[in-house]
């Protein structure tokens, strides 16, 4: 196991208490702001000190409160990409990159040149950070990070400071630039799509502890808890009452739902992503189907999001189901009697 983290830190009324491990892979950390995800990265880098616990990487102990080990950041060989990039404003791009190259390096100039080439910065060597665009600044920060030859890379909200139209391109550039890196890479974000595209595994943080962890696809398919489901983008969540081993009642939606596999006894909620909800103009033979009326619709760029509710559903948002449908399909359906189907293979059982 490459990276092992098990730390606790108290900050006023907030307590960070997380334990996770990561192989030499790209791991995403998803969480709302203030959930402790950046703090965790700072503890790994040595910028913050946990109250207790340990951090180990490839057999090296970076921090261990029991053994009283707390390696200073400069000896941890951890590369950290700051949200603000933290470039040195008084230095040129080249000097910014050169400053982090290890002393043991026999030819620092060629290391810097390689790093600049990798991030397409060749023409910018003598520019200062404030003469660069946001995207260029990020590339300089990444080049500086790579030139310092870290064992582990931590990216703290790498795209939050950029315009959305830049993100897509930079995401691919970053993936490209980091592709030859062989260690653990942790990336913190509140944007699930970003993490889904870039990372192999995922940790979902909620209020200082880990809510769900595992392979990226597994966590999105089966988030496990309400918080993880919400963070992973599930819009429809409702209280569940277990009726039998494979049926439950969705209390707020007033629907009885069948499931393909036995229901875990600790299930308290059921959820479904809005693009998994189906709409029909007739009851048909589909399971988990109920007549509904339309409450509202939102015209998106490429789809409609319809909000529907069953006859006896709870009032307010709890009883509503959001469904995303194609534009043409919705225009055919909207004036007719409407039935909602919650396909059983897409139902999320949550704690």
């Amino acid at each position: 196991m490459a990276l092992e983290v098990n730390i606790r830190k108290k900050l006023g009324s907030f307590t960070l208490d997380v334990a996770f491990s990561a192989k030499a892979e790209w791991m995403g950390i998803l969480g709302a702001s203030g959930c402790g995800k950046s703090m965790t990265l700072k503890c790994i880098a040595g910028i913050e000190t946990p109250d207790a616990g340990y951090i180990r990487y490839n057999g090296r102990t970076l921090f261990d409160s029991a053994q009283k080990i707390n390696l200073p950041p400069r000896l941890r060989r951890v590369g950290y990409l700051f949200q603000s990039y933290a470039l040195f404003p008084h230095m040129t791009v080249l000097k910014n990159i050169m400053i982090g190259i290890p002393r043991s390096e026999t030819n620092p100039m060629s290391v810097a040149e390689q790093a600049m080439e990798r991030l397409c910065l060749q023409g910018l060597a003598s520019k200062r950070p404030d003469q660069l665009s946001g995207g260029q600044q990020q590339r300089v920060a990444l080049a500086r990070l790579l030139a310092s030859q870290p064992d582990m890379i931590l990216l703290d909200e790498p795209f939050s400071a950029l315009d959305s139209h830049l993100k897509w391109k930079l995401e691919q550039e970053l993936t490209q630039a980091m592709s030859s890196f062989r260690g653990t890479l942790l990336m913190v974000s509140h944007n699930r799509d970003e993490l889904y595209r870039m990372c192999e595994t995922l940790c979902v943080f909620d209020n200082g502890h880990i809510d769900a962890a595992g392979g990226m696809h597994d966590v999105f398919k089966n988030p496990g808890t309400v918080q993880a489901a919400l963070l992973s983008g599930c819009k429809n969540i409702c209280r569940a009452e277990i009726l039998s081993s494979r049926t439950l009642r969705a209390a707020d939606w007033d629907m009885v739902l069948e499931l393909p596999r036995p229901i875990p006894p600790d299930t308290r909620y059921v959820g479904i992503r809005r693009h998994d909800v189906r709409l029909h103009s007739a009851l048909g033979t589909h399971a988990n189907t109920a007549p509904v009326h339309v409450i509202g619709e939102v015209d998106n760029m490429f789809s409609y999001v319809a909000t529907v509710s069953a006859q006896n559903a709870a009032s307010g948002e709890a009883g509503q189901i959001e469904c995303e449908t194609g534009k043409e399909g919705w225009l055919k359906l909207r004036e007719k009697p409407l039935f909602v189907e919650l396909p059983k293979e897409y139902l999320l059982l949550l704690r």
Binding site: G46, P73, R74, F82, Q131
Partner: protein
């Protein structure tokens, strides 16, 4: 006059000075005349050289100690307020009180005075005392300016430097200091101006010995008190010229720095 100008002992001299002033206070009792000036004689420029020597040396000491103190206080985890208060004290206290405290420390019976006495060194009522006075009084100005600038330096920049493997000393000299240059220049000018204009503390600890410890600020006072308006005007003009031209020079340096920064886009 000669005896007053080179006193055998500073304290005795001080006593005698008061006696002299008392005996000569026939016209105006409030006027304290330390020595008379021959109006016809060529002007003695020694206060100018003494002032420049003292202010320059004091600024150098203040520059080094001010930066070190600012770095020390910024990095303190406890008692920050207490130490900061101590370092700022010379700016808040009346200069005469600072001078009196220095007299207690550097005097014959003071902690440092005794130590120096063992080595046969007397500091009080020498130009070195004037340097000490100017340093102590100008120190808080530079210290506070630089400390404020240190606290403004982006914490993430320091953290980034640490994760890149830089030692603390390298971070200080290569990252922190270059980013506070404008404040450093401003603090140094103000400290120099304060050192050049020092009066109260200087007269307490260095006295008013022409040719040895009499600075321009003290010379103006002495000339006015002696009723020598002409000499007072001359010193006033010289002081104004020096102050103005040093400010002008430094503003020039500053604006050049700023122009470079604008080209780089720092400001």
């Amino acid at each position: 006059m000669k005896a007053l100008a080179s006193p055998p002992h500073p304290y005795r001299t001080a006593n005698r000075l008061i006696t002299v002033s008392g005996s000569r206070a026939s016209g105006n009792p409030a006027v304290i005349v330390f020595f008379s000036i021959n109006k016809e004689a060529a002007m003695d420029y020694s206060p100018l050289w003494i002032s420049l020597k003292v202010a320059l040396l004091a600024t150098i000491f203040t520059f080094v100690f001010g930066i070190l103190a600012a770095r020390y206080v910024v990095r303190l985890k406890r008692f920050q307020g207490l130490i900061d208060g101590l370092f700022t004290l010379p700016m808040i206290l009346p200069p005469t009180v600072v001078g009196f405290i220095l007299l207690l420390i550097f005097g014959k019976n003071g902690w440092i005075g005794k130590l120096l006495g063992l080595m046969n060194v007397t500091v009080v009522f020498t130009w070195i005392a004037a340097v000490i006075a100017a340093t102590v009084v100008s120190f808080p100005i530079l210290y506070r300016t630089v400390r404020g600038a240190f606290e403004e330096v982006d914490a993430d920049m320091i953290h980034a430097a640490r994760t890149l493997g830089l030692k603390e000393s390298a971070i200080f000299f290569r990252i922190v200091l270059p980013n506070v240059v404008p404040s450093l220049i401003a603090g140094t000018i103000l400290a120099f101006a304060r050192a050049l204009g020092e009066f109260g503390t200087t007269i307490m600890i260095a006295g008013n010995i022409p040719g040895r410890t009499q600075t321009m600020a003290v010379a103006v006072y002495t000339a006015v008190q002696a009723g020598n308006r002409e000499l007072a005007y001359q010193w006033m003009l010289i002081i104004c010229a020096i102050s103005f031209s040093s400010m002008f020079l430094i503003n020039l340096v500053n604006s050049r720095h700023r122009r470079n920064s604008v080209r780089r886009g720092v400001l």
